[in-house]
Structures are given as structure tokens and as C-alpha cells.
């Protein structure tokens, strides 16, 4: 049996079963398939909140460490060249016990999240019932939405949420530029996707945006009733 099949059976199938049950539940309770998709996306996000939180905490700690390392590397780059610079940068990594390879392996929650995303993608891809089903102004969930005079609106909403969330998550110019470039790339890549897929991921990105808003501004600007809700949301992290 090929390894990929073993992995799919062991890792993917159990999650697919859970997804199937959740989506079936919302199919039976939501007024239409589009709202079932939105509810499905919200439920998955709620279930994944602890993992999101863990990942963000890890990323924040790594980001702080990388900032310190980067500051030292920049100083070395400014004053030294060639071999000397190479050896000093290597020593900086040694002092911080930092290895790009180990840091990569250390982000296990990232791999888990990609795994869950992939499962959702696989699950939605294999659903035949979206063909010809309308959702609001979207004529068919199996086709691109073409809501703005033939231009697809959902990829743009998704990208806007993506960029806004990225700006709320970080004040670092470099990270903002990087996230915006990625969002632009996703816009190009996803532009022609079926609306069902984009409803799911746009909802996903809006949840991410709300969480970023809650984290950044919840304590200062939201009404007290909302703040309590945000606090509960933050507790899930």
C-alpha cells in the first residue's frame, strides 16, 4: 500500500468523517445550502480556535525572537563583509539556539492547520450538490460568482478580509507587505474558483478578521457587551 494512501487513511479519513457529520447537520438545519456552508465554516473555525490560538502564540514568540536576531544580523551586515559576516551571523544563530530548519519543524500546529485546510478543501471539492444551487445573488455555488458586472466579488471580499486581518495582526512593515503580496497572489489564484469554495474561505477569513479585531481593539473601542464576547473568544485562544 503506498505511503500516501496510508497517511490519507490514518489522518485524512477521520477528519473527513467529522466534516461530513458537521456539514450534514447544517444541511438539515440551515434554510439553504449557502447558509449551511457559512455555518459549516463558522463551526470549523470554532472547533479550530484553540489550534489557531496556539499557533498565534507560537508565532508571536517566534516573531519576537526573530526580531532580536534580525536586529543583530543587521548590525553585523552593516559592519562586516564576506566570510567574517557569514561566521558572525552563524554565531548569532548559535547564541539564540536558532536554526531555521528546527524552527520550521517546530511549527507542528502549522502542519496540523494545513492538514485541516486540505481536508476541508477535499471535502468541499467532492460535494456534487452545489451544482445549480443559488445562494442569495450568486446564481450557482458550483461556478464563480460573477456578481459585479461579470467580475467575481467573493475573491475580492476574501482578499480584503485577508489584508485587513494581516494589518491588524502585525505592525511590522515587512510582515504587512509580505502578507499583502500573499493575499494578492491568492486573489489571482482563487479568482476563478467555484463560489462554494469561496463562501467557505471568505467566511473563514472574516472570522480571522474578527478575531484579529478582537485581539487588537476589543479592550478599547467595543461596547462592554461586545467586549465580554471578545474576551470569551480570546479565551478560546
Amino acid at each position: 500500500m503506498p505511503l500516501s494512501l496510508v497517511l490519507e487513511t490514518v489522518l485524512l479519513d477521520p477528519v473527513l468523517t467529522i466534516f461530513r457529520h458537521i456539514f450534514s447537520f447544517w444541511q438539515g438545519h440551515a434554510p439553504d445550502l449557502g447558509l449551511a456552508l457559512v455555518a459549516f465554516s463558522l463551526t470549523i473555525n470554532l472547533l479550530l480556535a484553540p489550534i489557531y490560538g496556539e499557533m498565534e502564540r507560537y508565532e508571536a514568540s517566534q516573531s519576537e525572537r526573530r526580531t532580536k536576531i534580525q536586529r543583530e544580523v543587521e548590525r553585523i551586515r552593516k559592519h562586516f563583509r564576506g566570510r567574517e559576516r557569514y561566521f558572525y551571523i552563524r554565531t548569532i544563530y548559535r547564541h539564540y539556539k536558532y536554526s531555521p530548519a528546527v524552527a520550521m519543524l517546530g511549527s507542528g500546529s502549522l502542519l496540523l492547520q494545513i492538514c485541516v485546510f486540505y481536508t476541508a478543501y477535499r471535502y468541499l471539492r467532492d460535494q456534487p450538490q452545489f451544482a445549480g444551487v443559488a445562494f442569495g445573488s450568486i446564481p450557482s455555488l458550483a461556478e464563480p460568482d460573477r456578481l459585479l458586472w461579470g467580475v467575481n466579488l467573493l475573491p475580492m471580499l476574501m482578499t480584503a478580509a485577508n489584508i485587513a486581518s494581516a494589518f491588524l495582526r502585525s505592525n511590522e512593515r515587512r510582515q504587512r507587505i509580505q502578507a499583502s503580496a500573499l493575499a494578492a497572489m491568492f486573489l489571482v489564484l482563487l479568482y476563478s474558483s467555484p463560489a462554494a469554495m469561496l463562501v467557505y474561505w471568505t467566511t473563514n477569513n472574516f472570522v480571522s478578521l474578527v478575531r484579529s479585531l478582537a485581539r487588537r481593539t476589543g479592550r478599547q473601542v467595543w461596547p462592554s457587551a461586545w467586549r465580554a464576547g471578545f474576551a470569551r473568544l480570546a479565551e478560546l485562544d
Binding site: Y88, T91, S107
Partner: protein
């Protein structure tokens, strides 16, 4: 598990991710690229080192002493003599040939000449010894790496200093440092705190070559009407001669007898300027192997380099005027230590900083410095700043034996 090639409509599955995951993915990809770069570069350097090492044979030493340059002989020889007197097995590795012009080594001390540069370090990186003592900083940073068969690396500084003006990571990976004074000791502890390094052993040792300078110090010349000024600057773009030319010496020579001692490196690196300096009229030019006789003959020193200033002040107990170009420490350890040189501040009474804008007042400044000079005060500050003055070589030998016993 994750198969990016599984696509729908030509779209990679990675595209369906939120900003956090996207950012982390970029981080992962850049991590892979950086890791590959470092792995390839490390492999290249290891290969170069293996080629340089060739088929060298290694013998096991007890205490290996590594001298990178002949100018550090004066640091090591007193310690080697004391170790030999104590019957300790010593092998002296020099990155130069020791011909008959060098002082002979004591009986029983073995000498091995190894090539300079990378080939020599490739040899040292595989040495077998209980302790390796060196003045070369940056162990395990550049090409001088720790050998798995050396149990203890000890750094022996060759001048009174602080870790402010040394290159990055100078002392970080040594097991011990034989400190010349309390300022270096405190600076090293501070750097350990900043970098969260384990504490290394710090010994209150002193400066072994001061023992020799003190013992061989010629008697001071008899007092005469005209005072003698020794001008002994560094070389390079910030040196006195490069910045002010030889006119500074000529101006001083109108009021005092002057001995000029150009830096030996100047002859190689700035031959035209060197030639101009040695041809100066009305001054004595000293190009002897050591500055001892010139220092004994002078009443005051003008310099811009730390080593000779401290020797002149602490061994000969005479005042110094320091032409004080503020050194940029941004790329050095001083950047992390912050503040200004503590040593300079504490020696200010007899190593007087003179800003470059004041050099035209030098004759008057010389008179002031000599007028307020106090040998007693120099001795007090020396006692505070220099460990074991005049007896640091036997101290170093005893401390090395202590290390041996603890291994």
C-alpha cells in the same frame, strides 16, 4: 498527507489559507532556503579545512600554547618559564619559525612550528591537549574551532584592555579567561548576561609581559633641562601621522627633545609616510625591536594606541597624552556594553585625552601634564586596575595548574 500537487482548476491547495498560515508558510520556505545556504557554505568550509589539514599527525599535549605572531612571545615566554619551573609539560605552537634571534625556550618545553592562517588553524582544530592557551580571540567563531580532543580552552590577553574594543564574540566560547584586571572581568560577565551564556572561569591574572617590562626596565635618564617627548602612534587611517601629518612632531620639537617611534606595521602598509617620518630632522627616530629604551629615555608619551600607553604609564610611571579620536564601537562588543571606556575614564589623570581640535596646543598641554604628574597616583590606579602587577606570570602558571587538576 499533504499533497500540493492535488489541485482543482490549477489552484494549489496552499492558496486556501488565512493570513497567519500564509505568513508562517513564507517563514517555513525562507527557513528552508536559509538552512540550505548555511549547510552548503558550512560544507564548503569543512572541505577547505579538510584539504588544508591534509595528513597531519597529532600528538597528545598536556598544556599547548598557541602563538599567532612573534609579538606575543613576550606574553607567553614568562608563563612558559614558570610552567617549566613547575615541571609542567608544555608544547609551544607558533605560526612562525622561531630562529636563533628568538629567546631560547626552557629545557623540556617542546616547540612546533605550524603554518600561519587557515592551514595552521586546521591543525589546531584537531589538536589533542588538556589545555590550549592562546591570545587569539573568537574561538569557535571564525576558522579557529574547538577541537574535540582539547579539554579546556583558556584565553590569555596580551594587553591591558576591556572587551569594549574587541571584535564580536571575542571571549564567548572560551572555558576560561585570564583577566588582566577587574574591568575586563566585569565586561565579560556583562556580555555573558546579555547573551545568556554559561559563566566561564575568570582568573585574576594580570599581564605577564609587564613582569618582563618591569624587570628589564632601564634606569630612567638623569634629569636635564629639556624634557623628552616620545611620539609613538598607531598606523592606518586614524593614526596621528595620517591625520595631522608630521607637522605635529615639528611643532613639539620646537619646545622639547622628541623621539619618534613609528609603528612597525607602518613600514609595510604606509611606506611613503613611514619614509617621511624616519627622515624627520631635529628628532630622534627609534626603530628598535622593542620600545623599552625609548620609553626609558622619555618623560612623556604622545600616542593614540592603548597598548604602549598603558605600558608607559604603568611600567614607567610617566604621563601620557592620548590623541583621542572617538572610536566607533558600533560593530564591536562595546555596542552591547554601552557607555564609554571605563579604563580611559579611570586613567584620565595621567593618560590625558586630547581632542584632535586641541593638537595645536600640545606644547602647553605637555607642560601641564608633566607639572601635575604623580607617580604615587599612577601606582594607586595601577593597583586598582591591574591584577598581580610584576608577578602575573607565576600567577598564570599556578592558575593553569589549578585548571589541570580540575579536569
Amino acid at each position: 498527507m499533504l499533497d500540493p500537487s492535488r489541485i482543482q482548476g490549477g489552484l494549489p491547495v496552499f492558496a486556501y489559507i488565512d493570513p497567519g498560515t500564509g505568513s508562517a508558510l513564507v517563514y517555513v520556505i525562507s527557513g528552508v532556503v536559509i538552512s540550505l545556504y548555511f549547510a552548503m557554505r558550512g560544507l564548503y568550509l569543512r572541505l577547505r579545512e579538510a584539504v588544508a589539514r591534509g595528513a597531519a599527525r597529532y600528538e597528545k599535549c598536556c598544556i599547548a600554547i598557541h602563538g599567532e605572531d612573534p609579538r606575543y612571545e613576550i606574553t607567553f615566554l614568562p608563563v612558559i618559564h614558570c610552567l617549566a619551573e613547575r615541571g609542567v609539560d608544555v608544547t609551544y605552537f607558533t605560526m612562525y619559525e622561531r630562529d636563533d634571534s628568538f629567546d631560547p625556550l626552557p629545557a623540556g618545553v617542546k616547540h612546533r612550528s605550524i603554518p600561519p592562517g587557515m592551514v595552521g588553524y586546521a591543525y589546531l582544530n584537531h589538536l589533542a591537549a588538556e589545555i590550549l592557551v592562546t591570545t587569539t580571540p573568537q574561538l569557535d567563531v571564525m576558522t579557529f574551532r574547538r577541537s574535540r580532543r582539547v579539554r579546556h580552552y583558556c584565553h590569555l590577553p596580551h594587553a591591558l584592555g576591556e572587551s569594549r574594543y574587541v571584535r564580536p564574540y571575542a571571549y564567548d566560547f572560551f572555558d576560561s579567561v585570564m583577566c588582566c584586571g577587574r574591568i575586563l572581568e566585569r565586561n565579560i560577565r556583562r556580555m555573558e548576561e546579555i547573551r545568556q551564556l554559561p559563566q566561564k572561569r575568570l582568573f585574576a591574572t594580570g599581564i605577564p609581559h609587564y613582569d618582563i617590562l618591569l624587570r628589564e626596565r632601564p634606569p630612567d635618564r638623569a634629569a636635564s633641562e629639556r624634557s623628552v617627548v616620545l611620539v609613538a602612534p598607531s598606523w592606518g587611517p586614524m593614526s596621528i601621522f595620517e591625520v595631522f601629518g608630521t607637522s605635529l612632531v615639528k611643532a613639539v620639537a620646537r619646545h622639547y627633545d622628541v623621539i619618534v617611534r613609528p609603528h612597525p606595521q607602518m613600514e609595510r602598509s604606509q611606506p611613503e609616510l613611514y619614509s617621511e617620518v624616519v627622515q624627520l630632522e631635529g628628532v630622534t627616530v627609534d626603530t628598535g625591536r622593542t620600545p623599552l629604551s625609548a620609553m626609558a629615555a622619555a618623560d612623556i608619551l604622545i600616542s593614540d594606541i592603548s597598548g604602549i600607553m598603558h605600558e608607559f604609564a604603568f611600567v614607567h610611571e610617566k604621563p601620557v597624552l592620548l590623541i583621542d579620536h572617538r572610536r566607533d564601537v558600533d560593530g564591536l562588543e562595546g555596542y552591547l556594553l554601552g557607555g564609554d571606556s571605563e579604563l580611559k575614564e579611570l586613567c584620565r589623570e595621567f593618560i590625558t585625552p586630547v581632542s584632535p581640535s586641541e593638537v595645536d596646543k600640545l606644547p602647553a598641554l605637555i607642560a601641564t601634564a608633566m607639572h601635575r604628574h604623580s607617580r604615587q597616583r599612577i601606582a594607586e590606579v595601577r593597583e586598582d586596575l591591574v591584577y598581580n602587577f610584576g608577578r602575573s606570570a607565576p600567577t598564570a602558571a599556578r592558575q593553569l595548574q589549578e585548571i589541570l587538576q580540575c579536569l
